[in-house]
């Protein structure tokens, strides 16, 4: 059942569940942050409408810089703005920022430890028809490996808004991973959000869970639907929303592993180096249990609808259920 102690959207299992993109949540969070803090500056690389940075641009034109199609400059200019005590948000597609400009982010932002907020939209297979060139499936891996960096992957528009406001008040370089498409609203305004803290979104009605699912990003929805289906079959599952991938909430992960002795991770990203890898690194060192990783298996994406792609690349609900059933057999 949904963990109602943290006020999850009760309409989540309805066919007409509200759908809004996480980038929309970012856009409105940025407006709020810009209102609260006049030190916030926003930079765009010719994609302000797509990233929703245009809302900030209209409201605060003096604190908005358009750098053109130049993501390397986007990152390095932001480093300079941050060096003057300001909080820059840089916005583009995840493929180009942090993709194209990785070394600029590593050297001028993280090595300098400047509080630049890197906002990468259109991450994951869910980009759909644009095809593999635009589907960032490596961005979690390349950002979480850099010292000083915080990595957040919000599950819906409301969490994206909260993450945007929260990170505007921290001194860390931060990557926020966003999705293009309208996805189900999982949380409510009352659901707690804190950088570095994971929460259980789905829990058994009574007793201990047999399997723990850890998911990040909008694909958390698939994990919750899978848990709901499994519940009907008598398989008790807990679902943890790991929206902050770095710093990792090791306490929540280990506690879930201790209870279930079996973990399935779910992400719209390469398995290699992604959130599942981070969980595996944590558990291998602290509390080894069998783990199954749901994610993209070392291949590039292609054009298609998000649903077609989820199915083909085996990150949809039915494959999550399959992995849960598989890991039940692997349990010691």
């Amino acid at each position: 059942m949904l963990n109602q102690s943290i006020k999850i959207n009760t309409k989540i299992f309805n066919d007409d569940v509200e759908k809004i993109s996480s980038r929309d949540g970012f856009g409105s969070g940025l407006l709020q942050a810009g209102y609260d803090n006049e030190n916030i500056v926003v930079l765009s690389a010719d994609l302000s409408e797509s990233t929703k940075a245009n809302l900030f641009a209209e409201r605060y034109p003096k604190r908005y810089i358009e750098v053109g199609v130049a993501e390397q400059n986007l990152a390095t200019v932001a480093s300079g703005i941050a060096a003057m005590g300001k909080i820059p948000f840089i916005t583009s597609y995840a493929m180009f920022s942090p993709g194209r400009n990785w070394e600029q982010i590593r050297t001028s932002i993280c090595y300098n430890n400047q509080p630049v907020k890197i906002v990468g939209s259109h991450a994951g297979l869910s980009v759909g028809p644009d095809g593999g060139s635009h589907q960032a499936l490596e961005d979690i891996a390349i950002t979480r490996v850099i010292p000083n960096m915080v990595v957040i992957s919000p599950c819906d528009s409301i969490e994206a808004k909260k993450a945007t406001i929260a990170c505007s008040n921290t001194k860390n370089p931060t990557y926020i991973r966003l999705a293009r498409n309208n996805t189900p609203t999982i949380t409510t305004e009352e659901t707690p959000f804190e950088i570095g803290k994971a929460h259980l979104y789905f829990v058994p009605e009574i007793g201990l869970a047999h399997v723990g699912i850890i998911a990040t990003g909008p694909i958390l929805y698939n994990a919750i639907i899978a848990a709901h289906e499994l519940e009907k079959k008598g398989i008790k599952v807990k679902v943890l929303n790991l929206s902050t991938i770095k710093p990792l909430d090791t306490e929540s992960i280990i506690s879930l592993a201790k209870e279930t002795k079996a973990i399935v991770t779910v992400e719209d990203h390469q398995i290699t180096g992604g959130m599942g890898s981070a969980v595996a690194e944590c558990l291998a060192q602290n509390y080894p249990v069998p783990i199954e990783l749901v994610g993209v298996k070392d291949v590039f994406g292609q054009s298609g609808t998000p649903l077609e792609l989820e199915k083909y690349y085996e990150i949809d609900t039915s494959h999550i259920i399959e992995k849960v059933e598989k890991i039940l057999k692997r349990k010691i």
Partner: protein, 279 residues
């Protein structure tokens, strides 16, 4: 004042000579590093740190200071030596260059030495950072001048030109770039590796106020900085034609000294030569 008087020139020449000697001592003790560019830029650093910059070595993080961004971090011995001679930290600390635990990392790292404005080393990143500083200063109505020191070789990097375009678009008249036009890079002469041609004209065509000077002539550089500071409506660049290895005749204009530390005999010879200039 739009010119330097003779007394000032003499004073700055003596300081530049001290900076050069420190550079050679540091690199000899470190056993590795980059002498040519550092020696070539010593006059410009002496002028900036001892006459031009608005700064306070006793209060290095004073908010009102001008910002100096060194982009080609490999010439940092000239930065460290200038800072030490200006009083930021004791001269003895220069001996720790490139040693474990030193604040003077092989390439500047702001986390170790917070009084440098930026970590640097990987090329082509400094101009963008300076542009960011100039933009921030303008948005928040500051009155600082942002100086960016670049090598000619790092104009091979596309990132540099992205920043050149943005500075022009944003009309950053609080930004002054000095390009160390010494015609060498690590594996040869710039015009063979990747021809840069007339850099002054290139900048001009991007809408910059551009000047060409002898980068080892204090008066010429000073006049150019003065004009740049008074130029309104856009960013300024000074193409400083410097002699790499300047001060040590045998090393001058030889790209082999780009990235090689002197041994004891070479260091001795160089120090004697510099001593003879201003005994």
């Amino acid at each position: 004042m739009d010119t330097l008087n003779d007394e000032k020139i003499k004073e700055l020449k003596i300081i530049a000579n001290k900076i050069r000697k420190s550079i050679i001592e540091m690199l000899f003790k470190a056993g590795s590093g980059h002498p040519a560019g550092a020696l070539g830029m010593a006059d410009i650093f002496a002028l900036l740190y001892f006459h031009v910059l608005r700064h306070d070595p006793k209060n290095p993080l004073w908010e009102g200071r001008d910002r100096l961004v060194l982009s080609n971090g490999h010439i940092c011995p000239v930065l460290y030596a200038s800072m030490a001679h200006a009083g930021y930290f004791p001269l003895e600390e220069l001996e720790t260059l490139r040693k474990f635990g030193s604040r003077l990392q092989g390439h500047p790292h702001r986390e170790f030495m917070p009084w440098v404005e930026n970590s640097s080393g990987p090329l082509g990143l400094g101009l963008s950072q300076a542009v960011g500083m100039a933009i921030a200063d303008r948005i928040y109505a500051g009155d600082k001048t942002i100086y960016a020191l670049l090598s000619d070789g790092e104009h091979d990097e596309g990132n540099t030109w992205e920043a050149v375009m943005l500075a022009s678009k944003e009309k950053l008249s609080n930004l002054i770039v000095i390009v160390d036009r010494n015609n060498i890079q690590i594996s040869g002469n710039t015009e063979q590796i990747m021809p840069l041609g007339d850099m002054s004209e290139k900048y001009k065509s991007f809408g910059w106020f551009s000047q060409n000077v002898d980068g080892n002539d204090l008066q010429e550089i000073y006049k150019a900085i003065y004009k740049a500071k008074n130029h309104k409506g856009g960013p300024s660049v000074i193409i400083a034609n410097t002699v790499p290895g300047k001060g040590v005749k045998e090393w001058e204009n030889d790209y082999k000294w780009h990235g090689k530390a002197p041994n004891i005999n070479e260091a001795d010879m160089a120090l004697n030569e510099l001593d003879s200039l201003y005994a």
